[in-house]
Symmetry: C2
């Protein structure tokens, strides 16, 4: 069997790479998850670092995830998703729909980035333990303002469409991205999602439907799906899943 795509991402976490994995899996694409493969098979971290150091051809990636396809090196998670989706019918063909799908995917990625910055508000290079005070303060705003804003927006986009899909009337990679975002928030901020739940019925319906798609269902049950953990983008630190009431500053 020919392997079409080589995905490079940190082994051991879902992180930003998971948005890409879901598109590859739903597309039924054949791919290698290089950094998770043994070094004896040209995999592992050394293979990934080699490309990050610029020892390969094509565009130099700043950071994982990146995908190698027919000699091209493509980075930025939403961009990779859009590229793969276009090749496998997971996005409509017209320019406006493609721009809208990417817009939704980029906004999902923005929310995921903010979820990361809750536990790393000062620097990615520091441990969470070294920025806990700032994280606690940022968490209050993320939980009370940002999660409702982003998920509420996705709900409204569904409401303005056919109720089931983010782009037009068909499943697209934007739906896969929304599924992953909700999964991540459900893991990291279960209380916040619980409170918001009644206001986002369509989004929770989408989440359920995506999980039941045959290829996604098989993937989620496989060892390829890395469990959420406290090393990734979405982290469950109970002290950050705060209940924010009237005492909210300022």
């Amino acid at each position: 069997m020919t392997i079409d795509y080589a995905l490079y991402y940190w082994p051991g976490i879902q992180g930003r790479g998971e948005f890409v994995r879901l598109v590859l899996e739903d597309a039924g694409a054949s791919y290698r998850d290089v950094a998770r493969e043994p070094e004896s098979k040209d995999g592992g971290m050394p293979a990934m670092m080699k490309l990050m150091k610029g020892e390969g051809q094509g565009m130099l990636p700043l950071a994982p995830p990146f995908l190698v396809h027919e000699g091209a090196v493509i980075a930025q998670s939403a961009n990779i998703c859009a590229y793969v989706a276009a090749r496998h019918g997971l996005v409509p063909k017209d320019d406006a729909s493609r721009a809208n799908a990417l817009q939704v995917m980029l906004t999902i990625a923005d929310c995921a980035d903010e979820a990361h910055d809750v536990h790393h508000p000062i620097a990615s290079s520091l441990y969470y333990e070294d920025q806990k005070a700032e994280a606690a303060r940022r968490a209050r705003y993320f939980v009370s303002e940002r999660i409702p804003k982003f998920l509420g927006w996705l709900e409204r986009v569904l409401e303005r469409g056919d109720g089931d899909h983010l782009i037009g009337k068909e499943h697209s990679y934007a739906d896969l991205g929304a599924f992953q975002l909700v999964e991540g928030i459900a893991y990291a901020f279960p209380k916040a999602l619980g409170r918001l739940g009644p206001k986002i019925p369509r989004l929770l319906g989408l989440r359920k439907r995506v999980a039941e798609r045959p290829k996604i269902k098989a993937y989620l049950a496989s060892e390829r799906r890395i469990p959420f953990n406290t090393k990734g983008l979405f982290r469950h630190y109970p002290e950050l899943d705060v209940e924010v009431g009237d005492e909210m500053e300022p």
Copy 2:
């Protein structure tokens, strides 16, 4: 004259909208900058808020900038730039080059977002004055780690290419984005850019060349170019343009 595009962005700042303005200007496209036009001509903030509240057709934007073109509503700055660039020959036509151009533009947007989060590390809804302590701490890492990482990466991409262009051998919207990023850093963090300068000669060369492109030169000299200020994405707060030495924590 027919107006092809309607851009919606906060009046009074360059912000994320400036990346789009530069592409529209360099393309010689005819566009309205709606929120900056008088209310008497269907412009101003009311016109923008109307679409943000969902009173228009098409995709609901989460936040400005967004562009209306032939009924489509397109948001996310890098996405808008890619859309406009493709219609005006400001990006190569093949899929791999387009994915690489968007990858570069998204990485530029990431750096711009981080420049914003330096003065707003806790919440966008708070004033800088309410998060100065956290901002001071974050600034040390942005200046010593992140600016060199992002600008150093752009330098290497140029070095691996023809030395003058980020994508292939021709001017593209990625070059316009890099110009704006360097302009923003030069305004907000002049000391940091000064120290880094000798290591990024190609990027500084690109900045100079872009500024000399006839349409860009005319735009920069016009009233359409809003001066940088301390309300936008890039803000010059001297206390954040720190000199980081050996005392760097941890």
